[in-house]
Structure formats: C-alpha cells, structure tokens
C-alpha cells in the first residue's frame, strides 16, 4: 500500500507544498494525477480535513487524523540557562562545559536573564498569557548525556500558557488563495538541553559531549488541532519565522536548534480519539510532513486490517520514508517530578506591579518587553501588501525564502522602477533562476544593485522587456559585467532613430505585399506578422508598440 508521498516539486532548496494523491487532507479537485507543472501544485480546501483509504471498503468510513506537536527551540543567548558557559554550535568536545553543566557536587543553578526575556517575548508574540509566577521542576530519567540524572524544566506552572499560532495554507485554483488557520498553544516552558551522545557500535560504547548540556530551550507545546503533514509543516515554518524575527532562536532545524516531536492518532469523526504514537527524529520541515503523513496512513491501514495501534515511540527513517518502532519495552516512563529545591519561583512584573525601588537588572517588566517586540512575519506581510501592492501569496513567498525579502528591499531602495515590476522580476525571473540551479539567495550571482540597474534601464525605456531578459541571463554568468556593459556590448539598446525604423517598416511592407493585401482586406491580425518581421530585422531592439504605430500610420496613408 503506497504511503501518500508529498512530492518535492522544483529542485529548489525550499520545500514547497505539492500534494500528490488522495492521502492529503486538503482535497484536490482533480483526483488523479498531478496536473500543475508550476512550483505549487493544485489543491482545494475541503470542508473538513478528511482522509479516505486507498481502497474504499463497503460504507467507505472516513478517517480523521489528530496531530499534536512538541517543539523545542534552542534559545539564542551567549551563555547557558543556568550557568555561565558559552552557547556555540561547534567547539572542541567538552570545552563549553562548566562544573554545573557536568553536574559536579556543590554546584547550583543560576538563571540567565536573557533566557527569561526570550521566553516572555515568544509568549507575547504567540498571544499567550504570561504567568507572573512560574516554577521550576526536576524531571528524572537516566541517560549518559544527562549527567545530573534529571532535567530542570517547568512542568507544574510554565512561564506562558494558552496562546495561538496562525499560519496560512495555500489553496484555491492556482494556489493563490491563502486560507488562515490557527493552532492553539498549550504552553511555553523553559528547560535545559541535554548533552550529545555519539554511538560507537563498533566498540560498543557511547561518547559523550556535554557542550550542549544546559543550553536553554523553549518548549512550545501545541494542542492537537493539526490534521495532516502539510498543516504541521506550515505551522512549524511560521513558528520558525516568528522566532527568527524575534531573535529568540535561530530555529535552524539542520543545526538542531529546532526539534519537533509529533503525537499522531486517527479516529472516525464523532468517535473517541484513537491511541497515539509519538514520532521522533524529524530534522527538517520536509521530513516532518512526510513522516506525519506516513504515520497517519500506517495507522489507518493497520486499523482497517483489524490490527491495533500501540502507544509507542517511533523514529522516522528518511532514507526509507517510513516510521519504525523504537522497540520500547519499558512501558510508560515515570519521571518522578519534584519542585527544583534550588530555585525560588520566577516572578515577572508589569507596569502596574513593578516595585518602585527595584534594581532594573533584577526585574523583568512584561509591558516593556511587549513595547519593544520587533515586527512579526504576519505584520510584515500585511505591510508588503499595503506598501507595494503585491498579492498576499507573493508576500508569503518573499518571507518563506531565506534572504529573499532583504534582496527585494535592497532592489527597491536602489531602483526607480515601479514596485510591481520589482516584485514580478524578483519572484518570477530571479527566484526562477535560483530554483533551477538549486541556489540560495546568498549564492546568487546577481546582486540587488545589479538588478536595480537593469530595472532602471528597462524603466527608462533604454531596452525592451525581451532584451532585459537576455541581459539578465548574461548577468547570471558571473562574468562581472554590469547590465550597462552587457547592453552596449550586445547592442541591445532600443532603436532611438525613428527615421531608420520607418525606413525598415517601409521596406518590410514592400517585401511582403501579400501580407499588406491581407491587412487591407480587413484581417487585422496580419499586422502582428509584420510587427514580428520588423522586430526580427531589428534584432529585438525596437519597441513593438512603436513598430505597430508606424505600420498603422503607413497603412492608413
């Protein structure tokens, strides 16, 4: 039974959402085949996200999937959550470890102010209620990369609760409609990261590097409002953009700064929820969607065949495209939660409750943080639509591609051309070239200034639109020539000389008397043939509108 595969369309680095077969929760209008050859596929939104099985049985029971996510984001800070050792992605093993991180006796946790601010900022950006008092707890379990034998987390009373995350699913005939969806946020809590284990199966040992042990994490727990891989992937992408905009986390999944675990179950609508499994080892947005859809289909197939779902943990194997059980025989884990005895409650203030004589270093004012929140992605998109007259879907594309928004804004700054022209060139031509060669914006051979110069030439009618495309192709070759240089080298300037153009039109008309006859007999479209001939003769250096005007004048005389 084929698992529903999300086909990765376009060889660009960015994973785009193209549903292929009936396994998607957003039903397509054409049930068979993948009909679009653009980067985005087609789909339409169903009234309710539902799955049907591959082989409909008698009575075709519909299944609904329920997906909950637990997302861990590494806080972007200089030092760790409870100690003063450095936070850095790569460093010699165990060089970024303090005595506390190594859990040597006699060491105590000291809370990092920056991590608390990051948690409050994130909570506010996600519309959460910030708990003015939150508590720290110990979660006990044994593993070699957790030297203390427990993790300090916030189980009883986390720092933020009851928020929401809004994301947009592209749907409609040409993926041009953006449907807003919301997933509720149960809570956000501060907790410690563990160290890293490297398994050496050959020598039957595990090597432990504690550089990551004690780094601050934000755990964002989403309510199970999601129903398929596409929704989960989109929601996580939006969260990534928000965290990056806030600066609270770099949220790079490839570097392990953002980790997602999914809890998945299926049931018939109206009936109680099914047994859920947890899927781990999801280290890219693309695999996240793939794994969730695979697991949903696996559960459906299992239940349809009379089997049952075990409450277990499964790991996603990306080479095989499937989830496999982690063979857990221990049953439910008992973490023996207890209050962290070395940390008093964390108390936050707002403008009204702030004590007058407080040391500003020692208090955190929620209202002050709220005032200094940077612009969030959803607001940025709205602003782009208002300011530059682009479609909402365009703003999504601009934000989704790393570095593209900055590129776009730099071009706008340096060019006289209309914003709509810039949008079109950046999103169609520029992005198209990038995708074709699988390049990131940062690897582009064309700089914003160069594109701005090209658009200025187009805007001042120095070259035609077709010529501009030619110039762009030359610019992409990295030969270091400016657009101006390419235009003069290839003699692509629009013909200024009206007299010469009139001569050319005249000779064309004389050379093709049948076409002229055609026109005079009342076939207006024959003029296009003439225009085409003249254009070719000028090697695309004449403005087609001017050619048409001259020809019409000649014909009527």
């Amino acid at each position: 039974m084929a698992a529903p595969m999300l086909r990765w369309v376009g060889r660009g680095r960015r994973w785009t959402f193209a549903q292929v077969d009936g396994g998607s929760c957003h039903r397509r209008e054409a049930p068979t085949g993948f009909t679009s050859n653009r980067i985005r596929g087609q789909s339409s939104v169903a009234q309710q996200p539902l799955y049907t099985t591959q082989k409909p049985r008698k009575g075709e029971h519909k299944w609904a999937a329920v997906v909950g996510l637990e997302i861990h984001a590494q806080i972007s800070s200089n030092s760790k959550l409870f100690s003063g050792s450095q936070v850095r992605f790569s460093a010699p093993p165990n060089s970024l470890v303090s005595f506390f991180d190594a859990s040597l006796p006699g060491t105590l946790p000291v809370l990092n102010r920056r991590c608390v601010e990051a948690a409050v900022m994130t909570g506010l950006a996600l519309n959460c209620h910030i708990n003015k008092k939150s508590l720290f707890d110990r979660k006990h379990y044994f593993y070699a990369d957790l030297p203390a034998g427990y993790q300090i987390t916030q189980q009883r009373l986390p720092i933020a609760v009851n928020g929401s995350l809004t994301y947009g699913i592209c749907a409609g005939k040409k993926q041009s409609q953006v449907i807003p969806k919301t997933v509720r946020i149960k809570q956000i809590q501060l907790e410690q990261d563990s160290g890293k284990s490297l398994h050496d199966d050959l020598r039957s040992q595990t090597l432990i590097d504690l550089n990551r042990a004690g780094v601050g994490l934000l755990e964002v727990v989403l309510e199970p409002d999601l129903s398929c891989g596409e929704e989960a992937a989109t929601a996580v992408r939006e969260l990534q953009l928000i965290l990056q905009a806030l600066g609270t986390s770099q949220a790079n999944m490839a570097e392990g700064q953002l980790r997602v675990d999914a809890n998945i179950s299926v049931h018939h609508p109206g009936e109680p929820l099914g047994v859920r499994t947890e899927v781990k080892n999801l280290n890219s947005i693309r695999f996240l969607a793939k794994a969730i859809d695979y697991e949903i289909q696996r559960q459906i197939n299992e239940l349809e065949n009379g089997g049952e779902i075990l409450n277990e943990t499964r790991s996603f194997h990306y080479q095989l495209g499937c989830t496999m059980s982690m063979r857990d025989k221990e049953g439910k884990q008992d973490y023996r939660f207890m209050p962290e005895p070395n940390l008093p409650p964390l108390v936050l203030y707002d403008a009204t409750s702030l004590p007058a004589d407080a040391d500003p270093q020692q208090v955190i004012n929620i209202d002050q943080i709220r005032e200094t929140l940077p612009e969030l992605p959803s607001v940025t998109r709205e602003r782009l639509v208002q300011q530059y007259g682009m479609l909402l879907e365009h703003s999504f594309t601009l934000l989704n591609e790393v570095g593209l928004l900055e590129f776009f804004q730099n071009v706008i700054k340096e060019t006289r051309a209309e914003p709509k022209k810039v949008t079109s060139w950046v999103l169609n031509t520029f992005l198209g070239y990038l995708k074709q060669q699988n390049l990131a914006v940062s690897e582009s051979p064309v700089t914003p200034s160069a594109l701005a110069e090209l658009l200025d030439l187009l805007d001042s009618r120095t070259i035609s639109s077709a010529a501009a495309k030619q110039v762009f192709e030359e610019m992409w070759k990295r030969e270091g020539k400016t657009p101006g240089q390419i235009v003069s080298e290839k003699q692509l300037e629009l013909m200024e000389d009206r007299g010469a153009l009139e001569q050319l039109c005249h000779s064309m008309m004389e050379a093709h008397p049948q076409v002229v006859m055609d026109l005079k007999e009342g076939n207006p479209r024959a003029i296009n043939k003439l225009i085409g001939l003249v254009r070719k003769a000028t090697q695309n250096r004449a403005d087609p509108a001017m050619i048409k005007e001259i020809l019409e004048k000649k014909l009527s005389s």
């Binding site: 050792s85 398994h199 884990q333 005895p341 008093p344």
Partner: protein, 136 residues
Amino acid sequence: MWSRLVWLGLRAPLGGRQGFTSKADPQGSGRITAQVIEHLERLALVDFGSREAVARLEKAIAFADRLRAVDTDGVEPMESVLEDRCLYLRSDNVVEGNCADELLQNSHRVVEEYFVAPPGNISLPKRDEQEPFPHS
C-alpha cells in the same frame, strides 16, 4: 550500594506528564510489595539489597505518614522553603567553561576528550532473572 551499573536505554517520554504522587503506597498498609521495590530500583537505580533496607524504607514512609495527622484543609501548600526569596537573574555573559582537561579527569574512561559511557539500551534485568532475595 551500586551492585551493578546499568543504563536504561530509552529516554523517550511516552504519554502525558505525571503528577507528583506517581506510585503512592496503598494508604497505611505499611507493606511494600515486590512490585514497588522493583519499580523503585528501576527508577532510581538503587539496590535494595537486603530485607533490612526494605524495612528501613517502610519505617521512613511511616514516619512521613505522620504528616497526615495535620489538618491542612484550606491551606495553600508551599512550593518550597525558598518561595519567599528573590530569584537572582544573571547577566548573559560567558564566564565559565574551557576546563575540559579538569572535567575529563573525573571520568574512568576517556576517548579524545569525550566521556565514554556504555552504549544505551542495556535494560535492567527483570526481578525473576536476578539472584533471588528473601522476601516475605
């Protein structure tokens, strides 16, 4: 006493969060069952090697049970004895670390600046697989 050092393989949390009284002793029974001992040994990696140890545990529980004699209706429980203190907030500066050599000295085995641990997934043998221990 650690009679053997074993590692629980999986740290994957299954299911929801536990409350604080996870495996409460049946009230006032005073008797700890073999199942509870096994569960505690697995959780805490403590070896209740003898009958005396279990008896000590039972006495400790009985001692703590005396708290129930206090009427706490309508009284808000404390979070900890520190709850009235101020939680100190540290500035986000790097002031520690860079002592790999010192830390690695604590480890029995070291490979190229990594601590060496046994591979995961060695599970604690079941009670009936271990040497039998007198238990009424």
